[in-house]
Symmetry: C2
Subunit: 600 residues, 2 copies
């Protein structure tokens, strides 16, 4: 089997670190009993392992293709999507009133990880559809919700996010797509969007495009952007499909990775459809507040892309372990009668441990974040909601930025473990390396996440959320250092060093940002990565505490010993990276910025 869902680690994180028991007691999650959660995870594992993972190589070898405006997806995708949708997976975390399951984000996150690990390219279609559902639920009218959401949840339709234009990549203030109001209250859209994931495909009957555009009298910049829903086929009040709308796929991109996922150029208003010139669209929510609504989608999508980084890392790790166990090569460094499996070589161990520690650490951070989101949305106490909301929002850029950056290291190590075979495409290790490379770019580059972390998440509340986290980590350090367990004490010492570097970095950011904004932002990604290492190290330390508790209670499952070793590896090999990142932030700005542009 090419991928096995890491259910054991997922259950451990859900139960021991992310507080599933607490979330199950929240109003609205009464149905999420442990039996239900177990059944969901098992069934999800079966689907992704048996149906979706085997399509991953095929998708790379037979990418989606474009012809005359239509996109043919990879053989097998359509059938797999039907199975996915009919199993109710698209609705996992969406409200029951629209046909969803209404499960906690925490539980959904495990399923999302598995889906992406099985097949990043495939999983992007559900990911975008999730975003469209969230935006409609946030800002749509009752009529819009009722018209679109049930079809998006049942998989008969899918969703897209149309932000980027050729002249406006990350900078949405530059969006130029025109939305001209019509007498009936609808709009006609004209413009070009690029990098639209699953903007055209053959897996569903209709595609619901959510599109950023500008009305003729809108203000300049981000305050004049509105959100529109533009269905590929117009929909009558009963949801029956009507005329072909004036939105067209002009081409798809030839990409480094995620080749089965069609990345489309969409033309709105090319006058080729059955509706005349201009794509028919309907405003969602109030005009000129589109960016706000889009942020709702983007935050969910950013979280999900972070999970993609974890997912591709887990898959690359599993493949590397399998290869390292099978491949015999060279004698052991300490001497051996014959060649040994390369998993016995110390440096292969180092690579595999690095891969698993990064992956497990990032998973724990993401799932803990998902749990905070559930508390923030469902806890009866407003103060608890607010605190968890702040924690979640602080974590999102870290989950997105760090998990995707670390996936580059993990998938690269995955290639390296394979040696020369890793460079041969048939082996499959290279695909993960290529696929992962988009993750730190789309849904906001790492620099954009880092700007968000500094601006909106650290400075805006005067460091309140950040310092509260530091205090929580210090509490864990105290517990570790008071422990009598040697590994916990070691982990505590490393975590203390790292959290103090983190605290000093936060302080530096807060103190300097007014006087030297460029200098602080020169260290923005280092701050984000430092935060990522510390949060991963914190959760791995908590995991080590939980593991020791199990071991000391007599639990003989080797999982706990393995977790403890992995946590210690994280502390000894990955937490020290916090020191060099700290140095880069607090002492390094001048040399980053000293040159003139023409000196490069």
């Amino acid at each position: 089997m090419s991928y096995i869902a890491p259910l054991k680690d997922m259950r451990f994180v859900l139960n021991e670190l992310a507080g599933l028991d607490q979330i199950q007691q929240l109003p609205g999650f009464e149905d999420a009993s442990s039996e239900t959660v177990d059944a969901v995870l098992e069934e999800n594992a079966r689907l992704v392992q048996d149906v979706i993972a085997p399509l991953n190589r095929i998708g790379d070898e037979q990418p989606s293709s474009w012809k005359d405006g239509e996109v043919i997806t990879t053989p097998g995708f359509k059938q797999a999507f039907t199975e996915y949708a009919s199993g109710g997976w698209q609705g996992l975390q969406h409200p029951q009133e629209y046909g969803g399951q209404g499960l906690p984000k925490l539980v959904a996150s495990a399923c999302v990880e598995n889906l992406h690990a099985a097949n990043l390219s495939f999983a992007l279609c559900p990911l975008l559809t999730d975003g469209a559902i969230e935006a409609l639920l946030t800002a749509g009218t009752e009529e819009q919700k009722n018209l679109y959401v049930p079809h998006l949840i049942d998989g008969s339709w899918t969703g897209t996010m149309n932000l980027t234009e050729p002249q406006a990549g990350s900078d949405l203030s530059q969006v130029r797509t025109r939305a001209v109001p019509q007498e009936d209250g609808s709009f006609r859209l004209f413009g070009q969007k690029i990098f639209i994931t699953y903007g055209e495909h053959d897996m569903a009957e209709n595609i619901v495009h959510l599109v950023l555009g500008r009305t003729p009298d809108a203000p300049e910049g981000v305050k004049g952007i509105s959100l529109f829903v533009v269905p590929k086929f117009l929909v009558d009040a009963d949801g029956k499909l009507g005329k072909r709308n004036d939105v067209w796929c002009a081409s798809i991109e030839h990409k480094l990775g995620i080749k089965a996922s069609p990345t489309t150029v969409l033309l709105f208003g090319d006058d080729k459809g059955e509706v005349g010139a201009g794509a028919v669209g309907y405003a969602i929510g109030e005009l000129n507040r589109g960016l706000q609504y889009m942020f709702v989608m983007m935050n969910a999508a950013r979280f999900a892309v972070g999970v993609e980084g974890i997912a591709v890392s887990e898959r690359a790790y599993q493949q590397a372990v399998t290869f390292a166990r099978d491949r015999k090569q060279s004698r052991a460094v300490e001497g051996s009668p014959a060649a040994v499996a390369i998993i016995e070589h110390p440096d292969v161990r180092r690579m595999l441990m690095t891969m698993r520690a990064l992956t497990e650490g990032a998973r724990a951070v993401a799932f803990v974040g998902a749990g905070a989101h559930d508390l923030a949305t469902h806890h009866p106490d407003a103060a608890v909601r607010a605190q968890n909301q702040a924690f979640y929002e602080y974590l999102v850029p870290i989950i997105k930025g760090f998990s995707t950056e670390m996936s580059l290291e993990v998938t690269s190590l995955g290639v390296q473990v394979h040696g020369g075979m890793g460079f041969i495409e048939e082996t499959g290790a290279a695909q993960h390396y290529r696929d992962a490379r988009i993750l730190p770019i789309y849904e906001g580059t790492t620099a954009i996440q880092a700007n968000d972390l500094i601006g909106r998440k650290t400075v805006r509340d005067g460091g309140a959320a950040a310092y509260r986290i530091v205090e929580d980590i210090r509490k864990t350090v105290d517990e570790l250092e008071r422990s009598k367990h040697a590994s916990l004490v070691t982990i505590g010492a490393r975590l203390e060093m790292a959290v103090e570097a983190y605290a000093q970095t936060i302080q530096f950011v807060l103190e300097e940002v007014k006087d030297d904004v460029r200098g602080v932002y020169a260290g923005s990604v280092a701050y984000l990565m430092l935060a990522g290492y510390v949060h991963g190290g914190w959760q791995m330390a908590r995991a080590a505490q939980a593991a020791v508790k199990k071991i000391e209670a007599g639990d003989l499952d080797p999982f706990y010993e393995t977790k403890l070793v992995t946590a210690r590896f994280y502390a000894e090999h990955l937490l020290p990276r916090a020191l060099s990142l700290h140095a880069a932030v607090v002492d390094g700005a001048e040399s980053v910025l000293a040159l003139d542009a023409d000196q490069f």
Copy 2:
């Protein structure tokens, strides 16, 4: 222009850091006057910029292809190779008596870097031919040298290295190719070799395969391996081509990168040629000493692959700078009336500075190594030769391992600077990312380099070479700290911290290797990377000293200010990485090795 040879930086390194003036005075290098060196560099730049660099994208889009045992190279390659060879470039560092130019390795290294930067795939053919020439010169008879080397130098023939077999990747003790002695003193070879670069192609009249094999009575293991020369077409005493030999290209690999370079499977003894069954080969040097001779080729090739890492980094950097200057996106963080070129954004600066600092540092280390090689081979004083030989040999695994590992970071940053465009293949940034990925694998993985660094280069002489380097670096630290120049003092402080971490790591390796060989090797790659950062930082510090001297002497060329800033960036952002690597070596072995293989 897609690539511009960085002649200014190369000349600076040659003259200010690598001691070209001293090398020009060595016996045998009398012809390498400064005028000659300048002319060579200029002419080399013209060739690679105008002829070879433009073929790089074409090679990726139209890779070499295989049909019925023959390989058609990318359109344009054959003509370019003719120009390359007729310009005398293959013979640059080879003896004049065989038609070469006899120039110092130091000068040749700059040309090799430019060739690889222009086109990694193309440059591999000359690289392998260089290796074949070196092996023949080392161990061949006069007759063999005269028969093969002039044709290899004039480009009418090319060379290959045939080491790897399906069951024997890096582990050459497992080589099984049979070499059966014939009555006329020749051999017949039977076996299969894989991953043979340019093992078949259409750019030259003949291909000279150097092949590792075993005679029937050879001892087991590496002591029974012999080296044979197996020409594709047999050659008579005058060098005229005769019968087609029994060596065949069964297929070429479908690879992640360097797609224009045909990576072949070669079958020896398939009985399809004009010579009957068995590829006709001739022993080079003594039987059973093949591995020793191959090491001569491998050391030269490892150095060259290190230079490849620098080359692809330089190219990725140039492309990223060009894009960052052209692309306008988002307002400045400190506020600006309109969108600015992204090179103005602090994090883009951080990425570009990281790319240039890593590249310049690694270049300086490699060229200083090349200079040491020239002293080791041409200095009249045996003691000077020996010391430089030890220094060069210590550096080779670092140049190979570090320069190639850092090229992964640099080419990845190159993609990131491009944002979403970086993921689109047409942009070209992704090609560098894919091409670079082979570099830490072939010619010995980074782990193999690291084992070499520990075993043969650090432990075998009791740390003598390593500690001598530490002393030299400490001298530089002293000079820096006694300087009155603020940047030099800052650089000195960071270098001191890093060199002490380096010294402690060397000490740890020497002290622990006997009692805990697995533990020490668990930190082998961290030791290598630490050494790489320190050596790069050292050379950048020396560069800063030279730059300050020029500036203080009134030289207004902005190059020196740029170099000083880059050196300071290196010290502030890259040298701190030495700390976390040091921690991984001295404290991290237990957690690397604690798990059983089945716990992964």
